[in-house]
Every structure is written in C-alpha cells, then in structure tokens.
C-alpha cells in the first residue's frame, strides 16, 4: 500500500516534466519545440475548418450543415458579445484581429484536450507571443487615435494636481505593462494546471488498479475500488477543462477588447 503512493509521487514528477516544452531541433530559445509543433497543428486545423467553411458557403447565403452553422455561431458570438458589447462604434475595425486571437487561442487550447496531444498554448513562449500582439495592438491603436505623446499623457487622468498626476501616471505605466504579463501567465497557468490535474487523476486510477492486479489483498482491493472514484473525478475534470479552454479564449479576447476600448476612450 505504501509503495503505491510512492509510485504515484514518482510518476507525478515525470508527469510535470512532460509538460515542459522540449526542443525538436534548435534549443528552447531559438528552435522548433514540441509546443510549437502542436500550435502549428492547431493553426492547420483552424485554417482547414475556415477554408472548408468558405467552400461550403459558396453560392449560398444561408448556412447549411453542422460546420457552417457552428463556425457562424462562434463568429457571431465574438462579434456581438465581445466586439459590439465592449468597443462601441469602432468594433468593425478591430473585429478581425480579435476574432483571430479568439480562434487561435481556442484551437490551441482544444488541441491539448485530445489524449496524447499537447496544448499549443501550454508554454509561456506562445502565450507570451499572443499577449505581446494584443499589447502592441492596443498601444498602436491608442497612439494612432491620440498621437504618441497624447496617448502617453492620456494614461493619467486629467484634472489632478501635478505631483499626484505624476504618481498616477507611473502606476498606470506599470499596470499597462502588467497587462502583458497577466494575459500571458493566465492562459499558460490555466492550461498547465488543468493538464496537471487531469494527469494526476489518470495516474492515480491506473496505479491503484495495477497494484491491485499485481497483489490481491483486501487493502489493495480497497484502493482499487477507490479508482472508480478517481475515474469519475477524471471525467468531471475533463469536462471542466473543455469549458475552461473555451472560457480562456473568451477571456483573452474580452480583455484585449477592453484594453483597446480603454486605449481609445477619450479622457478619463
């Protein structure tokens, strides 16, 4: 009984090790890593879905079938809920960018939900790149709208006495850069923690059953019966993770939209 638990903790280390990205060629700074590969797969799947959507829509205006309706539903969800809900009049300008972000993150998340596949968004490198795009986008939007100095000045609210405005400005600069980090880390941590949780329950299920079959005693049979509970928990966590993958894509897009809206807003 004791060595079953030891076995679990030994396999835990192996599991966590397997979630760190390893280079296929090059090194993990400059090179092609496992996570990059899965993100590439996610992008290919995404492009396939959209091109087959486009093909299925040729010569008709009303979508027919599962694919066309599904794609249309998601795109309209992003358009109405994220763009129109937050951006106001300029939503048309930013919709392509936000929809791209949404679908890239979503497909990157869902690729990892298939057994033995890995999440494309499971490393800080890729989530950082996505967050950096969103970060640069809202800064460029703000600078286009208000001018370079106008945007930098607009970070601090008007109508404050000079010393307080300076302090607020420094805090706002800091929090603007913090947005970049939190966007990247939130997505990475959600994917990483979710996969670790699923992996732990999978390991617990198999280890105890394996132990029971190898050595049939009342104690090991009790632990083996517990495996049913771990199995149920594994399925439950899997369902939650399916939800989380979508919610993370939604939150990533929603926050980008909110940041763009803040960058565009006239004096606050």
């Amino acid at each position: 009984m004791g060595d079953a638990f030891q076995q679990v903790s030994g396999e835990m280390g192996e599991l966590i090790e397997s979630f760190f990205t390893t280079p296929i060629f090059g090194n993990s700074t400059v090179g092609f890593t496992v996570t990059t590969f899965w993100f590439l797969i996610a992008c290919i799947i995404m492009l396939t879905v959209f091109f087959s959507y486009k093909k299925s829509m040729e010569g008709q205006l009303v979508p027919h079938g599962f694919l066309a309706n599904g794609v249309e539903y998601l795109v309209e969800y992003v358009r109405d809920d994220v763009c129109k809900g937050n951006l106001g009049d300029t939503w048309k300008e930013h919709f392509p960018f936000l929809a791209t972000l949404f679908f890239m993150v979503m497909f990157g998340d869902y690729v990892g939900m298939l057994p033995t596949w890995k999440a494309g968004t499971g490393t800080t490198g890729i989530t950082g790149a996505l967050a950096l795009m969103s970060f640069l986008y809202f800064i460029v939007v703000g600078m286009k709208k208000k001018g370079v100095f106008g945007y930098i000045k607009s970070l601090a609210p008007t109508g404050l006495p000079a010393p307080i405005a300076a302090v607020v400005w420094v805090i706002e600069i800091f929090s603007t850069f913090l947005r970049l980090i939190t966007l990247a880390v939130r997505l990475f941590c959600n994917m990483f923690a979710g996969h670790v949780a699923m992996g732990v329950f999978a390991i617990m299920t198999t280890t105890f059953i394996h132990n029971m079959l190898a050595n049939l005693t009342p104690a090991s049979m009790g632990l083996g019966a517990m495996s049913i509970l771990w199995m149920v928990l594994l399925v439950l966590i899997y369902v939650v993770e399916l939800l989380v993958a979508f919610i993370q894509a939604y939150i990533f897009t929603l926050l980008s939209a909110v940041y763009i809206q803040l960058a565009e807003a006239e004096g606050h």
Binding site: D81, R186, C189, N190, F192, I251
Partner: protein
C-alpha cells in the same frame, strides 16, 4: 511547505469567488433581465481571481 503555501493561496481565491458568486446570485434574483451582462462580469471576475490561484499552483509545484 509548498502544499501549505498553496492551501493559503486557495483560501483567498475561495473567498473571492464565493463573494463574487454570492453577489451575482443576489443580483440575478433581484433583476433576472440582466443575467447576460452579469454572467460576463462574473466570468471575468472569477478569471482574475482564479489566475492568482493558478499562479500559486504553478509556483508551488515548480
């Protein structure tokens, strides 16, 4: 030690999500017609809270 630290971290996150969801449940009971908007706000708020907790988790096991 790591596990204790993560436990402390979960206390904060649990309080935060508990407060947020109780407030949302209250407001939904008072004004059922704003359910859609409230859901968005709730998901956003819990994402912020949850992110802190998950950062704690990742730091604890690394």
């Amino acid at each position: 030690m790591n596990v204790i630290g993560y436990g402390l971290c979960v206390i904060g996150a649990a309080l935060g999500i508990g407060l947020a969801s109780s407030a949302v449940a209250n407001s939904m009971a008072r004004q059922p017609e704003v359910q859609g908007r409230l859901f968005t706000v709730f998901i956003l708020a819990s994402a912020f809270i949850e992110a802190l907790c998950l950062i704690g988790f990742v730091v604890a096991i690394m």
